[in-house]
Amino acid sequence: MNDAVAITTAEAEPDWQRLHPATLALAVVKLGPRSLQFLPAVAALGFTGNWIWIVPAIGAFLLISLAAAWFQWLRFRFLVGGDEVVIESGVLSRQHRTIPFDRIQDVSIEQGLVSRALGIAKVGFETGAGGKENDASLDAIALDSAQALRTTIRAHRSGEVAAPVATADASEAPPFVEDRLLFAMTPRQLLIAGLFNFSLAALAVVGAGMQFFDGLLPFDFNVFNPMDWINIAEDYGLDQWLLAHRWIAGVGAALSLLLIGFASGIATMFFANWDFRLTREPRALRRTRGLTTRTDVAVPVKRVQAAILVTGWFRQRFGWHELRLQSLASDGEKERDHQVVPFAKLGEIDPVLSEVAIRRPDAGQAWQHSHRIVALGPITGAVCATIGGGVALYLGNEVGGLGLVAAPLIALIAFWAARFHRWADLGEQVAIRRGAWKPKMTLLPHASVQSVDLKSDFILRPLGLATLVFGVPGGSSLATHEIPAIPLAAAIDLRTRILAARARS
């Protein structure tokens, strides 16, 4: 508490600061992609025969861009006050923005490849205002001053809300203890995670590329074509032997498929999660990760709304899970929740969950099932596919047969997977499970629920069923938290219990 005040006052002197000069170097790097826009102009000059003007034009473009970057840098200044950040920017139209520390949900620090070489970082302020473009950022300042700024803002927040935290998790982590390491990924774990991350998505790209550049490649070899493997063998005089053992070619093709799948899985895992560290800070869980682009994100513990445990049909057999936390502050544009544990056994995940005061149901938990009617949507789709396939086949298109084969399969899988829609009320939180191929368990504390919808329609109503949909802060509006098709009485009962919960403090 006293530390916090000390830091705050120390930083409070009204000194306007500028962005790090190395930002200009960053602007030069950013010129690369931007100069592409200039290409049409160059081409036009070339076509009209004014060759002489090309070099001066490019020179002028570079000069103007650099001057613009320099002016922007000159006119951008910020002030870290006692309880607010003030940012002034703009060359022609000036912007003056004041962000009180109270309104800053989260401070993120991001470093790209060039930024790391220059020792600077981009600081983003998450204010919870709608839309990413509304959030202010300092792009970029020195890494250590970025970290100091974040400490200042966090300390302010901790000082302000120290009283409630003492009651909430005094037993677990008294404020201002050393940061504890909760979870880290060693290269070996990354390797295992990468192996389970096997993905043939990259394969589609490589395959499409090979098709596209077939004539352009310096070598005439397609790893997916067994004939090419036979050709290689011929070169080495193995053809006679191979003719007898054609399957070798097939195995070669399959092996290269596997190799690409595993390599891409491992590569994406290494790039994203290299040196993954999750630490418990006084007020937040802090995650740093990344090989080329290092990100440093803090998830304030009090803003965690729900936990989502994701696993896979296959990795579940080995006990591997992934933990995501849904928070009021979102994690970038694409990811709407924070991945705090990318790949771990449940034993390693439990301590993280207990930090955010969420409990995982134990193995003996009695689950209640959703009605199998949830499979109706996919089954309707399957019926449509059957009809469509039948019509196509009748009209003489053989592809229609594919629909006829796939439809019963889809229907069967949907009917089987419907069994995996389950839920349980754990007293202070609801656990919702769904999915067979990619099982997902949402742990939603009652107190996070902002509103409850009880939905029924002309199909559910005659069956005496209803669907509960919960309004929860954060996350995406596409992935709602819902318990589909449960008995009406159970739904009304659960709704009453959830609404009785006090606000999550």
């Binding site: 927040r157 809300v161 009021l328 509103s451 409850v452 939905k455 029924s456 309004g471 606000a503």
Partner: protein, 176 residues
Amino acid sequence: MTDTPAAHPTDPFDPDAINAAEGLDPVDPAYTQVLRIATALNLIPLAIGASIFDALLIRHIDGPYGLITALAWLAAVVMIATFPSRRVARWGYRIGEGQLRVARGWLFRTDTIVPFVRVQHIDVGQGPIERWFGLSHLIVHTSGTHNSTVTLPGLHADLAAAMRETIRRHIQTDFA
């Protein structure tokens, strides 16, 4: 607002039966006229468009001229005459016990409950047609991503203002 007991508890075909059975209050009957005018403003241009299409195209290709025009106007008249009252009968609300309850629809019925403490802010809005009939609509904002706004239309302007005051007294900021 008021604690009126269920007025029509028996007849399942009564328009008020759904709301009464669930202990909900109906919205103002004048909202039917608002919906009717809004529906008319949407459908009549469509019907006119269909008539023009009919006159310009179907007549020239020797199609069944007049069929589309007749169907379009028939559908528009039926929808304007009958649908609004049915839709209005299926809106219901209940305010009390520290929570606002809003239910709507029949084929796809949604029954939403928002506790007052979870309300971020409240709007009372009034469109030009609503002003004509002295009605307002109440919009409640929550911080949830799903249901970030819950709208309750068809309230008498005074009642909407009174409801806003009731909810406002309960609002407490949960998030700094």
